[in-house]
C-alpha cells in the first residue's frame, strides 16, 4: 500500500518534471514555430541565477520564483531582438542559430564560472509514508507544474493578451490590420517562453545540481514532449507529459532507468507514427 502510494507520487513527479521542462518550449516551439535548441541552456541560466543569487544572500524562494524567470525572460527578449526576429518562418535557420547560441552559452558560462560551482541544497526535508520517505520538494514540483499549466491556460483562454498572442501566431498580417504591433507580441511571447524555461531551471537546480552542460540532459525530453503533444500548449503538454511520464516512470520502477528512457522514446515514436501532427493535431484540436 505504502509502496503504491510512493509509486503514484513518483509518477506524478515525472509527469510534473516533463511539464516543467516543456512548457517554455511549448510556447516558443509549439506556438511560435521557432526551434529553440538553446532551450536547455535557458534552463541552465535559470539554475545559475538561483545558485549565484542565493550565494549572495538572497532568499532561495525569491531566487527561484522571481529572479530566475526574470533574468532569463529579459535575456530571452534580448535574444529575440538580436537573433530570433530575423528568423521567423525559417525553421532550419533558427535551428542553426539557436544551436550556435546554445554552444556559446555553455562556453561562456564555463569560462566565467568554471565547470564546477557549488549548488544549493533542497529546501524542505523529507517525510515518511510508512517505511518510505519522500522529499517534500517533490510535492512542490508537482504543485509548480499545476501552476505552470493553469497560468498558461488561463492567460491564453481568458485574457485579452492571450487572445492577441494566439491570433498573432495564426495570422500576424490580420492582427496588424486590427492595430496590434505583432513585433511586440512576438517579442513578449518569446520572453515569456524563456521566463518559463528559467523558472524550470531554477526549480530543478536544488535537486539536479548546476553545471554548464546540464541543458543537454534536459533538452531531448523537452523536445520529445512538445513534439508529441502537438501545437496546443496546454492540452498538448499535459497529454504528452502525462502519457510519456507515466509509462516511462512505471517501466523505470519495474525494470530500471535504461528501459524507462527507452520506453519513453518508443512510446513517443509510436504516438508520432499514428499522430504525425502530435496528440493535439488529431485529438483536442480545438483546445489551447
Amino acid at each position: 500500500m505504502d509502496f503504491s502510494l510512493v509509486v503514484a507520487i513518483e509518477l506524478l513527479r515525472e509527469v510534473a518534471g516533463l511539464i516543467l521542462i516543456a512548457t517554455g518550449l511549448a510556447i516558443i516551439f509549439g506556438m511560435m514555430r521557432v526551434i529553440n535548441i538553446a532551450h536547455g541552456e535557458f534552463m541552465m541560466l535559470g539554475g545559475y541565477t538561483v545558485v549565484l543569487t542565493t550565494k549572495m544572500g538572497v532568499n532561495i524562494w525569491v531566487a527561484i520564483l522571481i529572479l530566475a524567470p526574470l533574468a532569463v525572460g529579459v535575456f530571452g527578449i534580448v535574444v529575440e531582438r538580436l537573433i530570433i526576429r530575423h528568423l521567423y518562418g525559417r525553421i532550419i535557420d533558427s535551428l542553426l542559430a539557436t544551436w550556435g547560441l546554445s554552444l556559446f552559452l555553455i562556453g561562456f558560462v564555463t569560462v566565467v564560472f568554471g565547470n564546477t560551482v557549488e549548488g544549493v541544497s533542497t529546501p524542505f526535508s523529507g517525510f515518511a509514508i510508512g517505511q518510505y520517505s519522500v522529499a517534500i520538494y517533490t510535492f512542490f514540483l508537482i504543485f509548480a507544474a499545476v501552476a505552470f499549466m493553469s497560468s498558461v491556460y488561463f492567460t491564453l483562454r481568458y485574457t485579452q493578451a492571450g487572445l492577441i498572442a494566439r491570433a498573432t501566431m495564426q495570422n500576424p498580417d490580420m492582427v496588424e490590420c486590427l492595430g496590434v504591433n505583432s513585433k511586440i507580441v512576438y517579442m513578449t511571447t518569446f520572453g515569456i517562453g524563456a521566463a518559463f524555461a528559467g523558472l524550470a531551471g531554477g526549480l530543478l537546480a536544488p535537486i539536479s545540481g548546476v553545471v554548464p552542460g546540464m541543458g543537454a540532459l534536459l533538452i531531448g525530453k523537452a523536445f520529445i514532449t512538445v513534439v508529441t503533444g502537438g501545437a496546443a500548449v496546454v492540452a498538448g503538454t499535459l497529454s504528452s507529459a502525462g502519457i510519456l511520464g507515466t509509462i516511462s516512470q512505471a517501466v523505470t520502477f519495474a525494470t530500471g532507468p535504461v528501459f524507462g528512457d527507452a520506453t519513453l522514446l518508443f512510446v513517443a515514436l509510436i504516438l508520432l507514427r499514428i499522430l504525425p501532427q502530435g496528440i493535439t493535431g488529431r485529438i483536442f484540436t480545438r483546445s489551447v
Binding site: 560551482v117 533542497t122 523529507g126 517505511q131 520517505s133 522529499a135 545540481g209 530500471g256 532507468p257
Partner: protein, 414 residues
C-alpha cells in the same frame, strides 16, 4: 600615417585572433637538441576539465621542479601541452604529433578510459613511453604504459569489508552504466559475498540520468544496511541531492569508489549533502605524512591562486613525472627499453601518497590505499593499507610471458 579601420581589416584581425586561439598552448618553437620533451594530454576544456586542469598544473610544476634541480642528463625538460578538449579525434591527432613531430620522450595523460584507449595504441606503435595516471577499471596489458591509478581490486577490496563492519551486511549497489561501472559493480558483489554479505540489488544508470526518485524508493523498500555508489559524472550528482532531500542522509549510509575522485563533487555538493560518505582512494590531500605535507605546501606555494584540486589524479601525475625522472637518472639514458627495465626492477618510491612500486608483471602501481570519511569538504583518513596489489589486472596480464601485449582486457568475474 592614417590608419584605416575597414571591415576587412577587422575581419582579418578577428581571423588572426581566432587562429591563434585555436592553437595548442605551448606549441611552436622547434625542439632544441638540449631539451627533453614531456608531452601532456589532459582535457583542459570540455566536461571533465575540472579533472584535466589540475593534472596539467601539477605536471608543469613537476617539470619546473626537475629543472630547478638541474634537469636530466644535463638537459632541460620542456613540457609540450595540448588540449584534446575531451574529443577523441583530437586525442589521436595530438598523440601522433607528440610522438612523431615533437619527439616526446614520455607522454603523460588521458583521463577517461576512452581517451586512454585512443592514445595508448598510438604511443605503443611509435614506441613512445606512456604514463596513465587516472584510476580506472583495470585490465590494460601493455609494456609501453605505466598505470599509476588505483583499480577496483585495490580500493573496493578494502572499502567493502571496512564499511560492512561499520554498517552491516546488506548492500545495495548503484552504478554508472558503462564498463567502469559494470566492472566495479561486479567487484563489489564479489567482495561483499566473500565477506559474508549480500548485494540485495545492483542498478545501473546511463550517464544522462538525473532523476533518481524511483531508485531512492526502491532502496527504501529494500532496506539495505548501506548503499555502494559507483555513480559517475555530473548528471549523477542529482542522486546525492535527492537522497538528502528525501531525508535518507541519516537513515542509510553511503560508501563510494567514485565520489570526489577528481574533486568536482566536493565543489558542487553542499557539505550537508556530502558529509559522511566514505570513500577509498590511493591519495587524499589530508594524508598525515611529512612527504605529503611538504608536497601540499609546495602546490599551494606554486599555485597561490587557482590552487588545483588535489586528488589521486593530480598526485599521481606528479608521481609519474618523478618516477620517470628517477628512471632517466638511473639509466643515464632516454632509451625507452632501458627506462622500462629500471622501473620493472621492483624499486620502491617514497611519494606523497605513501610507498609505491611498479608491478613488473602488469606495469600497474602496487601502492598504499586509504579509506576516508568526508566532513565539511575535508577527508578524515580512517585507515591505511600498505602495498596493495593490482589483483584484477594481475588476473589477465603477465608482461613477463607476453612482453609484446597491446591490449585492454575487459575483466569479467562471471
Amino acid at each position: 600615417m592614417k590608419r584605416e579601420i575597414s571591415r576587412r581589416s577587422i575581419l582579418k584581425g578577428a581571423a588572426a585572433v581566432g587562429a591563434a586561439g585555436s592553437l595548442p598552448m605551448i606549441p611552436f618553437a622547434a625542439q632544441a637538441a638540449d631539451e627533453i620533451i614531456v608531452g601532456g594530454l589532459h582535457d583542459l576544456s570540455g566536461f571533465i576539465d575540472f579533472a584535466g586542469i589540475p593534472m596539467n598544473q601539477i605536471m608543469l610544476m613537476a617539470i619546473e621542479e626537475i629543472n630547478a634541480k638541474g634537469g636530466l642528463l644535463g638537459k632541460k625538460v620542456k613540457g609540450v601541452v595540448y588540449d584534446p578538449q575531451t574529443n577523441m579525434s583530437l586525442y589521436s591527432q595530438y598523440a601522433t604529433q607528440l610522438a612523431l613531430k615533437d619527439k616526446a620522450a614520455v607522454v603523460m595523460g588521458g583521463i577517461t578510459s576512452a581517451s586512454r584507449e585512443t592514445i595508448r595504441p598510438i604511443l605503443h606503435r611509435y614506441k613512445t613511453l606512456y604514463f596513465y595516471n587516472t584510476l580506472y577499471e583495470g585490465g590494460v596489458c601493455d609494456r609501453n604504459e605505466i598505470s599509476l591509478g588505483t583499480t577496483p581490486a585495490q580500493t573496493v577490496e578494502k572499502l567493502v569489508p571496512y564499511t560492512m563492519g561499520l554498517w552491516g551486511k546488506k548492500v545495495y549497489t548503484i552504478a554508472a552504466d558503462y564498463n567502469y561501472g559494470q566492472i566495479t559493480a561486479a567487484w563489489v558483489k564479489r567482495y561483499v559475498e566473500q565477506n559474508g554479505g549480500e548485494v540485495v540489488s545492483t542498478d545501473f544508470f546511463p550517464l544522462d540520468v538525473t532523476n533518481f526518485g524511483p531508485t531512492i524508493s526502491k532502496i527504501q523498500g529494500a532496506k539495505p544496511d548501506m548503499v555502494m555508489s559507483v555513480l559517475v559524472g555530473t548528471g549523477h550528482l542529482g542522486f546525492y541531492n535527492q537522497w538528502a532531500a528525501a531525508g535518507m542522509k541519516n537513515e542509510i549510509p553511503i560508501a563510494s569508489t567514485t565520489f570526489g575522485a577528481a574533486g568536482a563533487e566536493l565543489e558542487i555538493l553542499k557539505p550537508e549533502v556530502a558529509n559522511g560518505i566514505i570513500t577509498s582512494y590511493g591519495y587524499y590531500p589530508s594524508i598525515d605524512s611529512p612527504a605529503n605535507k611538504a608536497w601540499v605546501a609546495q602546490v599551494n606555494k606554486r599555485y597561490p591562486e587557482k590552487t588545483p584540486l588535489l586528488s589521486e589524479l593530480s598526485a599521481f601525475t606528479w608521481e609519474g613525472m618523478m618516477i620517470w625522472a628517477d628512471a632517466v637518472r638511473t639509466a643515464g639514458s632516454l632509451d625507452r627499453m632501458k627506462l622500462i627495465e629500471v622501473m620493472e626492477s621492483g624499486k620502491t618510491y617514497d611519494m606523497p601518497s605513501g610507498q609505491c612500486a611498479i608491478d613488473p608483471l602488469t606495469h600497474h602501481a602496487i601502492r598504499d590505499v586509504y579509506i576516508a570519511d568526508l566532513k565539511d569538504k575535508t577527508y578524515i583518513i580512517k585507515k591505511k593499507f600498505s602495498q596493495v596489489q593490482p589483483a584484477d589486472t594481475q588476473m589477465v596480464c603477465n608482461l613477463k610471458e607476453t612482453p609484446n601485449a597491446n591490449k585492454h582486457y575487459e575483466i569479467s568475474l562471471e
